[in-house]
């Protein structure tokens, strides 16, 4: 996917664990893990808002657009 999640970087900068964030924003650890590992297909505004509010950052600090190279098989 062209959107990359930088949650691990944001957490490392704040020296915070995923479990702590999960407890703080009231999201299950499993869901947060899906987000962190890039398996998520979508993110709710409410989830993004909660994460940004707790980490004190902007959505752009967590999400990054990385253009994909066109497939060679086409």
């Amino acid at each position: 996917m062209a959107i990359i999640i930088r949650l691990d970087v944001a957490l490392a900068q704040r020296k915070m664990s995923l479990t702590e964030l999960a407890e703080a924003v009231d999201i299950t650890l499993a869901n947060l893990s899906i987000l962190k590992t890039g398996k998520a297909k979508a993110i709710r505004f409410s989830t993004l808002e909660a994460i940004c509010k707790h980490l004190g950052c902007q959505p752009g600090d967590i999400l990054e657009y990385y253009p994909e190279e066109p497939s060679k098989s086409r």
Binding site: D26, I27, N31, K39, A40, T47
Partner: protein
């Protein structure tokens, strides 16, 4: 995915119950169909003394090459019995998934696709059967033989065009369900991966 989701327990329990009941009905249906279509075709009524094929033939006043007739009747009986047995087995498999509490699973989608394909096959066979007694006959030399066997074996194969449409309708409904369930599975997957 909901942040703190709670499963809907009463609905889940109802699905499991319906699944178990459906499995029981399908098992009973398979046994009944096997007896009614297969056993009774070969051994007219095993509980009233006609437990051998020759006695069954005697009861119909048929004599001649009994082993030859048996092979033919056996083939026809298998041909008539198997599709519906397979249908029961597939539907039982789908109910088994319900009993586990799983509705939108690829197994159910595949099962429904299987039911649709069998229904289309039966419709095609019935269309040929109908054509064998219509002005377009004979499309196949085997079909008149099957028709004559049907007359004394009581194999419930209706040659009417209506039954062709019935099976076609079942096939189309199941195919629509298959596409619907496939779409629902894709949506569920997307929903499960929405944080």
């Amino acid at each position: 995915m909901e942040t703190k989701s709670t499963p809907n327990k009463p609905i889940d329990q109802r699905i499991r119950t319906i699944g178990s009941i459906g499995q029981g009905i399908c098992t009973a249906g398979m046994i009944w169909w096997f007896y009614d279509m297969f056993i009774q075709s070969l051994f007219y009524n095993p509980f009233q003394g006609t437990y051998s094929f020759s006695k069954t033939m005697e009861s119909y006043g048929i004599s001649g090459d009994i082993p030859g007739i048996f092979n033919m009747v056996f083939t026809v009986a298998v041909f008539m019995t198997m599709p519906v047995m397979l249908l029961f087995w597939l539907v039982r498999k789908a109910f088994g998934e319900f009993a586990k509490g799983s509705i939108l699973s690829p197994v159910i989608a595949r099962t429904i696709l299987g039911v649709a394909l069998i229904s289309f096959s039966v419709a095609a066979f019935k269309l040929l059967y109908w054509a064998s007694e219509s002005p377009f006959r004979p499309l196949s030399p085997l079909l008149p033989t099957m028709k004559s066997l049907n007359s004394f074996l009581h194999i419930q194969t209706s040659g009417s065009l209506l039954s062709v449409f019935e099976w076609l309708l079942i096939g189309v409904v199941c195919l629509s369900l298959y596409w619907g369930i496939r779409q629902a599975i894709a949506l569920k997957e997307e929903n499960d991966l929405t944080v």
